[in-house]
């Protein structure tokens, strides 16, 4: 559920960047005080572990789909919330820079959705109290599942909110939340279970390791299942859209109720109106739009032609320098 640059407005992305920068600064400060140098390589290695573990898939019973490890809850359990948060930041940064997962503007949002909730809310408020001292299997499992569900759904809900506030997607709040939340609730359950397994296994093999709590997994469906779910979602979305224009959806309705039903011309209210006002510009008249489109395509062709020649020159230059064989 990586939030993407393409769905974010600079304002929403920037605010989340700001929040995350503050939390990063606080976490770094806490770690400095900790002054336990053994934690530094441990953080690096565990970050890489989460990365590597995401590559090991498992099948989810009865669904024909497969899942893999997510990480934030496991890291919190092993390292404590501050170090875990920084490890999540580093993992998400690598994903944004190398794998086009999310994007640089969306990095703040992704850190917030996938790191903050798990490390600073689900772990201290749910996992710790439920798991207790971590010696009873049942409690560890319950804690892992509860905390994972909470972290996952909170993250998914914030994806919905961020998308709404940015106003790039036209998906109404109701159907979007109705799609995101149940899926992530289910993912949370599976994550919690696998987390519990891993922690308990490690603990039983090496009780010396200070693990009093479990790991997290995010589900990725197999391609076939993904396409099916996706087709179903589009279909359901299409059906919803017939009603969407006629009835205000949940949050709009709630906001309208609170704000005394102040409606804008576009039928939106409250903070959606405010956010869409930020986005909306008067639509150009059709003629200029079409000629703009023609101009855009021509410019694009010109750009690629220029790029092509530039690349040829760069290739020659590096070949004549006896450049690297990396290409």
């Amino acid at each position: 559920m990586h939030m993407s640059d393409a769905l974010l407005s600079p304002v929403v992305g920037g605010v989340l960047w700001g929040i995350c920068a503050t939390v990063i600064a606080v976490s770094a400060e806490k770690l400095k005080k900790d002054s336990d140098t053994a934690k530094i390589p441990l953080m690096g290695a565990l970050g890489a572990f989460v990365f590597a573990a995401q590559m090991i898939n498992f099948s989810i019973p009865g669904t024909g789909s497969s899942g893999h490890l997510g990480g934030a809850m496991l890291l919190s359990i092993l390292l404590g919330p501050y170090a875990a948060f920084l490890v999540m930041v580093s993992i998400l940064a690598v994903q944004a820079l190398f794998f086009a997962d999310g994007g640089i503007l969306a990095l703040g949002a992704n850190i917030f959705n996938m790191g903050f909730y798990a490390c600073f809310l689900a772990y201290p408020l749910l996992y710790r109290p439920i798991a207790g001292d971590g010696t009873r299997r049942g409690r560890v499992f319950t804690a892992a599942v509860t905390a994972s569900i909470a972290g996952m759904t909170a993250g998914a809900f914030s994806v919905v909110i961020q998308t709404m506030l940015s106003g790039i997607s036209s998906l109404p709040f109701g159907p979007f939340a109705a799609m995101m939340l149940p899926i992530h609730f289910a993912i949370g359950i599976v994550e919690g279970i696998v987390t519990g397994f891993v922690v308990l296994t490690v603990h039983s093999i090496d009780p010396g390791i200070s693990i009093s709590r479990p790991l997290v997994f995010s589900v990725k469906r197999r391609k076939k299942a993904l396409v099916l779910i996706f087709a179903a979602a589009v279909l359901i979305g299409g059906l919803f859209s017939r009603f969407a224009s006629n009835y205000p959806d949940g949050l709009e309705w709630a906001v309208a109720g609170v704000s005394g039903g102040v409606e804008t011309e576009s039928g939106e209210s409250g903070f959606f109106a405010a956010s869409s006002l930020l986005q909306e510009r008067d639509t150009d008249n059709p003629e200029t739009t079409v000629s703009g489109l023609i101009g855009g395509i021509i410019t694009l062709i010109a750009i690629f032609l220029m790029g092509f020649f530039l690349k040829k020159r760069a290739g020659k230059a590096s070949a004549s320098r006896g450049g690297h064989a990396g290409n």
Binding site: I40, G103, L105, L171, F230, G295, I298, G323
Partner: protein, 270 residues
Amino acid sequence: MPGIEDKLYSLSRFERLSLEDTPIHRIDPRVKIVLTLAFIITVTSYDKYAVAPLLPFAAFPVLFAAAANLPGTFLIRRLLIVSPFAVAVGIFNPLFDREILFSIGGLPISGGWASFVSILIRYSLCMSAALVLTATTGFYRICTSLQSMRIPPVLTMQLLLLYRYIFLLSDEALRLSRARTLRSFGAKAQGIKSTGLLLASLLLRTLQRARCIHEAMSARGLQLTLPQFENPVIKKSDLILAVFILTALALLRFFDLTGVVGGLISGALG
């Protein structure tokens, strides 16, 4: 879903690309980071129906990639390989936003389709900018410049250690996963329980390794800041380039280039 091999291959490919020596590679990493950010903010600042005005922005990643001699097919493949969340969400726009925005030769285009195409363009532009930054700078130089840009050393250290150990642990995960696949048929033995055991053993090896790393690092005088090899002063030529590109971004943002080009063309045709 991209497999382990693909991810590892991609990482090492980036590493090799970043070792090339072109004018783009030689630009100060700090300048490149700031320019990439400015580019992404400019692109995302357009309203949701913007399609044509976004197209000229392709100039930046395309020309940078070309001048840096990056393989276009590799970058395009990386863009296509992730099934972006943005596309999954964007595909709903045509369903919910059916108001006709304009028509091309009698074909009416709804706001939803325009904004969906806009999302695809935004995705390609922002992601290719990030990929070009990484491929022309290299992770190590990104981290050292982040540190000189006041990012806490704990985080830059973490980024580098993570990057270093991804290769080692991914290899290990690859072996574990391959061995299990060879011993099982289809989805058998890939259940939650066996995976839990597998991950637990990987975790134990990781912890073991972290202990060794710490001992080795302590023996060599572990410091919590990265050594700075780069010149702390940004070169004049890089600053000039930065001003030039920022001006170009601002001009494109506030001056309707595509409208003018399109107007000229339709004027010439008509």
